[in-house]
């Protein structure tokens, strides 16, 4: 008993008393423990690498998938929306207009699809080893960046073909990519934690992805939305991301200012709430998965 009191000098509820780790039931909202997440950054890297390697080894087309998906999407959209429906594209050639958006969209679609199933998919890990659970959806989102990089090469080729020169705006592209990853993580955290409790969440994901794409300016331009409604349109953070991509790459249409500001607030709320919700639910993962 004397030893016990030596280990907990104040009898407080702190997690670490010196080098001693305390394991106890957690109550209510818990700390995000981002420091610990940083310690496990190598695991994040290896898990992301596993997802990428396995995907390319298992699929017959391998790397070609990363290009084929947005390319075929672009072809269909160009024929039906560009040629037949004559959807205005802000003076940009329609194939380039839609591909630059699809580039952004594919990353998002991949990220939320993979991350929403990531916790259930890594059941073995969760029930057998301890590590910060946040690593799992994060790794599945990072894995999507490889496809993105491959698909990105094609947009450069297309820009060269159509003679579009990027301006200074292209320097802002990393910002939009980060913004997009934050959006995907926010959504992915919510969906992956919910999917543990309610297994039908993953069946709704394809529907969410499809619905969300048409709610975002992928096949059409956000300039179709009346100016006074644009901040409201910005409640969809992907509207800001997709238009941001177009602006950064092609310089047109003008930078999505107000819309992007609204999107930022939404993303911040989504990400923070997602992180806390996930952390709160994760203590039950090993018991329920």
């Amino acid at each position: 008993m004397t030893v016990t009191s030596a280990l907990q000098p104040n009898g407080t509820d702190v997690e670490h008393v010196g080098p001693v780790l305390r394991i106890k039931p957690s109550r209510g909202w818990v700390s995000l423990r981002l420091g610990e997440l940083w310690e496990y950054r190598e695991l994040l890297y290896f898990l992301a690498r596993r997802d990428v390697t396995v995907r390319y080894k298992q699929t017959g087309l391998g790397v070609a998938w990363a290009v084929l998906q947005p390319l075929l999407g672009m072809l269909v959209f160009t024929i039906f929306f560009g040629r037949l429906a004559k959807v205005p594209s802000d003076g940009i050639p329609y194939p380039l207009f839609s591909y630059s958006a699809l580039l952004a969209w594919q990353l998002f679609a991949y990220s939320i699809t993979e991350s929403s199933n990531s916790v259930v998919g890594n059941e073995r890990l969760i029930t057998k080893v301890y590590f910060p659970r946040l690593v799992i959806p994060m790794a599945s989102i990072l894995a999507g960046l490889v496809d993105f990089a491959i698909a990105f090469v094609l947009v450069i080729a297309m820009m060269a073909y159509y003679g579009v020169h990027p301006g200074w705006a292209i320097l802002s592209l990393p910002l939009f990519i980060l913004f997009e990853l934050a959006t995907a993580l926010g959504v992915g955290l919510w969906l992956s934690a919910l999917n543990v409790q309610y297994r039908d969440v993953r069946y709704t994901v394809p529907f969410i992805v499809q619905f969300w794409m048409f709610a975002s300016p992928v096949v059409y331009s956000s300039t179709l939305v009346p100016v006074r409604w644009r901040p409201l349109y910005g409640l969809n953070p992907m509207a800001g991301v997709v238009e941001g991509f177009r602006w950064a790459l092609l310089g047109k249409p003008p930078a999505p200012g107000a819309m992007f500001a609204v999107s930022s607030v939404v993303v911040a709320a989504l990400l923070v709430s997602g992180l806390y919700y996930y952390r709160r639910m994760e203590k039950n993962f090993a018991d329920v998965v």
């Binding site: 305390r22 394991i23 106890k24 898990l47 890990l125 969760i126 057998k128 080893v129 301890y130 329920v288």
Partner: protein, 406 residues
């Protein structure tokens, strides 16, 4: 700095029965909400007993408290479902205790299974790094020990082959090798030694022995008493989620094996003839088993005769006996209801699972036959690695060796 590595205080863990299957469809939640929107509100004030939603609960661990000193190797034994794995899961932070707390002084590595996170498509090399990272080893640390791990696993030639092409032996060897090179101060191990062939099992046990000698604290859950006896300096016995015994390894093991009902068969009496109503195998003084058979009959058996045959796991008979040809003293002349006890000395049997068939009859004929009704694990004290039964058989007769030099 204290010399206590792990201190558990009143750890409890409650599970909902069937919790692992309890995830619900969102659809159910929505229909529930529509059907009875106020139920949740009504239940809220007094919903504590059945965990809020009426599901029965079970305590996997109840008020478990113990201390482990630095450098101590603690064995944890108990029957299936006694809470051994739950305890390790709590100490390795996979799941939270419902009540109580544990204090851990030092880095913890847990080995609840070998090869967690191994992916069949990845090569041996890739899996070593991935698995190492999962076991919270640093990349530099894995790189430093890489050659040692590969050599230990004996897979040098196949290190750049996807592990799906490995034999199952190579696979577990590689998996164990990674885990064996963890350098945490505290190691939690669950039954992982039962991997690979005889030669590798010996190597694993040797490695575990080294770990124990280097002053690291080890918690070791096992069903294999010889490994516990070999590796551990202290042992705790869990029974129904409670700490039943804590002390010297030999004492705890003896307590465990002597009280254990190994297998039991229960049936209703037969309204038109004799029946075996209960049969059970228990340990008897650590060197044998005791078969207890209770019977009842509508007419007296003159005299009651019991026969039994012990089979190996492949179904081949190993040994049989019968009241008719086994000489017995104090055989009753007639009995309609009673219990027959047979004590069998099993020290000569190699460790394995055996099955027992029973016959009940009288002097002239058998009335009841229960085919392989009982199951028994035999073999405390016999080393686990032996040539397969197909080569040396099931019996382990006492031997004496001598050498004469010419």
């Amino acid at each position: 700095m204290s010399d206590i590595a792990i201190n558990c205080e009143g750890i409890c863990k409650q599970y909902r029965i069937g919790e692992r299957e309890s995830y619900r469809a969102l659809r159910d939640v929505i229909t529930d909400a529509i059907k009875s929107p106020f139920r949740r509100l009504r239940q809220a004030p007094n919903g504590s007993e059945s965990n809020g939603n009426g599901k029965p609960t079970v305590w996997a661990l109840q008020d478990v408290s113990f201390e482990v000193k630095q450098g101590e190797v603690l064995g944890i034994i108990g029957r299936n479902g006694a809470g051994k794995s739950t305890l390790l899961k709590i100490l390795s932070r996979i799941t939270e205790p419902t009540r109580g707390y544990a204090e851990i002084n030092g880095r913890v590595g847990s080995l609840l299974e070998v090869g967690t996170g191994f992916h069949p498509e990845l090569t041996g090399r890739e899996n070593i790094f991935l698995n190492g990272a999962i076991l919270s080893m640093k990349k530099a640390e894995i790189a430093r020990k890489f050659d040692e791990i590969v050599a230990f696993a004996e897979v040098e030639k196949f290190i750049d082959t996807p592990v799906k092409r490995y034999s199952s032996g190579m696979y577990v060897r590689l998996a164990f090798a990674v885990a064996a090179h963890m350098e945490t101060e505290i190691l939690l191990v669950d039954e992982v030694l039962a991997v690979g062939d005889a030669h590798f099992q010996k190597k694993c046990l040797g490695k575990m022995g080294d770990v124990a000698k280097h002053g690291r604290t080890v918690l070791f859950v096992s069903h294999t008493m010889p490994s516990i006896q070999r590796l551990c300096s202290r042992c705790v016995l869990l029974k129904h989620g409670q700490l039943a015994f804590d002390g010297e390894v030999d004492q705890v093991i003896e307590d465990y094996v002597s009280q254990q009902v190994l297998s039991e068969f229960v049936a209703d009496p037969n309204p038109i003839g004799p029946a075996i109503t209960r049969a059970a195998v228990t340990w008897s003084e650590g060197t044998g088993i005791c078969v207890d058979v209770a019977f009842s009959s509508t007419f007296p058996l003159q005299p009651p005769m019991l026969g039994l045959v012990l089979y190996d796991p492949l179904g081949a008979p190993v040994f049989g006996t019968n009241g008719r040809f086994d000489s017995q003293t104090n055989l009753p002349e007639s009995m309609a209801e009673g219990t027959i006890k047979v004590r069998i000395h099993t020290a000569s049997l190699r460790s394995d699972t055996y099955y027992i068939s029973l016959w009940l009859g009288d002097h002239h004929q058998d009335y009841v036959h229960l085919d392989k009704a009982l199951r028994v694990e035999v073999g405390v004290g016999v080393a686990a690695w032996q040539p397969p039964r197909s080569e040396i058989g099931s019996v382990f007769l006492p031997t004496k060796w001598s050498y004469c030099q010419e």
